[in-house]
Amino acid sequence: MALNNKIDIRNLNLYIEKEHILKDINIRIPEHRITVILGPSGCGKTTLLKTMNRLTDIYPEIDVKGQIFINGEDILHSHKDITTLRKNMGLLSQRPYPLPMSIYNNVAYGLRLSGRRKKQFLDKRVQHYLHQASLWEEVKHRLHEPAASLSIGQQQRLCLARGLAVDPEIILADEPTSALDPISSQEIEQKFLQLKSNYTLVLVTHILRQAIRLADYVVFMYLGEVVEHGPADRFFNHPQTEITKAYLQGSIN
């Protein structure tokens, strides 16, 4: 199957109060694959991820130049409603931030946002998405307890279920396992591998082994630049640049 490019980033530059954070980024992210944005801390991975759903809009000191095409539309210069653009992308952040309401309502909230209000329908979909995030068995008897009462690993899966309920095409994940214990991390990783047949996943991580386990396509960043990007197999086995080789051997961190 030829790879369709879901996201196409062209000449992207980003400044925070005149400081050049992202330097001339040109990458294409394939559909129904896991693309891992890899690199040491502070290299701009998270910032790049947040430009994709325009969360950078919240911060006035950030200035973004360039183009990001999603489904052929430049979202940085789109006249479409920003909430519609964002709904197309689920976000998993470093720490889970469930909404301050019950487990059930966390998932139902997204459904209600898209105008669904029938209780029967909501019940079914909530169950469906909690299943999708492998959380149903653990919470089916306590759906109406506050989300804050879940463990942090369960909260992250709840955030995944909540994100899926909005029915996005793309899932953006910003080091989603960094606050989790090893078992919860594994569950999230397993989930990602299952989800990629239906979704396009973009995962930011600084954990090399996680990248090796999950990536179909790798974007390697260093100091705000994309040093190298390509299919995982080529990237890990035949790195093209000296910096990549040094990183893979563990001499840059």
Binding site: N53, P60, L99, P100, S102, Y109, G110, L113, A148, C159
Partner: protein, 291 residues
């Protein structure tokens, strides 16, 4: 480090001394509160009667004859409720706006906070005098409405800052997560931020109510005083703090004792409100996301 054992001893001594000072300070605060409440109750309870609470002043009340302070109780409750409601309706959107849409303009919001803190610190008599001069300009007389307006302005900074204090500590990730779900900043403010900060909002409302009902200086010129329960916003209204003041300055001992009875009523109202605030914020907190 020549003598590590000596250093350890010194640290332990220091710890012990500081602990004694902190304990003393705490007991002093509790003690002062206890003495105030005790004095009010000891002198007020004997004069407190159902007649005090459920009757308006009759002829010669201020000379020790029959009647009660229902006019002041009702006036104070009307005034504080109206002012708190008005301050909430104006202050709540401001606090939300500061912490959602304006959140990114840190310098502006911090400047605004500073101004609100200044306003919080301005003595209420200044608000009263200001309100009075505006009333003179428009040639209106002291009334319940004027009092409500002035007290609302006076508690507004308290209302906004108390809500804001809870909201500004809400995690930034919560806003990012909410926007990612396709919410607008307004949707986030009213549905998510408000829910997350519900205890803070309730506290702010009750704190403002407590300030509004207990303040004498801002209503002195603006609300006036009357022996009757106001039947419209245009009528003047009596308030508990002023009622206490008028009775306390009487030369007749029984009337002075009644002032303490009125003070007991006021203290009781504020006590009930504070306890309600505590209970409700503990109860409402269970859904909030920990930072």
């Amino acid at each position: 480090m020549k003598n590590p054992a000596g250093k350890l001893r010194r640290l332990q001594r220091e710890e012990a001394v500081i602990r004694i000072i902190m304990r003393l300070a705490t007991y002093t605060v509790i003690g002062v509160l206890g003495i105030i409440i005790f004095t009010i109750l000891r002198r007020g309870l004997p004069s407190l009667s159902w007649e005090m609470i459920f009757r308006t002043p009759q002829g010669g009340f201020y000379f020790g004859k029959e009647g009660g302070i229902l006019n002041a109780i009702a006036g104070s409750l009307y005034l504080a409720t109206g002012a708190t409601l008005l301050a909430f309706v104006t202050g709540y959107p401001v606090a939300l706006f500061m912490n959602s849409t304006l959140r990114r303009h840190k310098r502006f919001v911090n400047g605004f906070r500073f101004i609100l803190d200044l306003l919080w610190g301005i003595p209420s008599i200044v608000y009263g005098a200001f309100g009075f001069s505006v009333m003179i300009f428009f040639r209106v007389q002291a009334s319940l409405l004027a009092g409500i307006l002035v007290v609302a302005v006076f508690v507004l900074p308290i209302m906004i800052r108390a809500m804001d204090e809870g909201m500004k500590n809400s995690p930034a990730g919560l806003m990012e997560a909410s926007l990612s779900l396709g919410m607008t900043p307004t949707g986030f403010s009213f549905r998510i931020l408000s829910r997350q900060c519900l205890p803070g909002i309730v506290t702010a409302v009750l704190l403002s109510f407590g300030r509004a009902i207990g303040d004498a200086a801002s209503v002195l010129f603006t609300t006036g005083f009357t022996d009757y329960i106001p039947r419209s916003l245009a009528e003047p209204a009596a308030t508990l703090p002023l009622s206490i003041f008028f009775q306390l300055t009487s030369p007749i001992p029984e009337v002075r004792e009644r002032a303490y009875a009125a003070a007991s009523v006021l203290t009781f109202i504020i006590l009930v409100i504070s306890i309600l605030a505590r209970l409700s914020s503990a109860k409402l907190n269970h859904n909030a996301i920990k930072n």
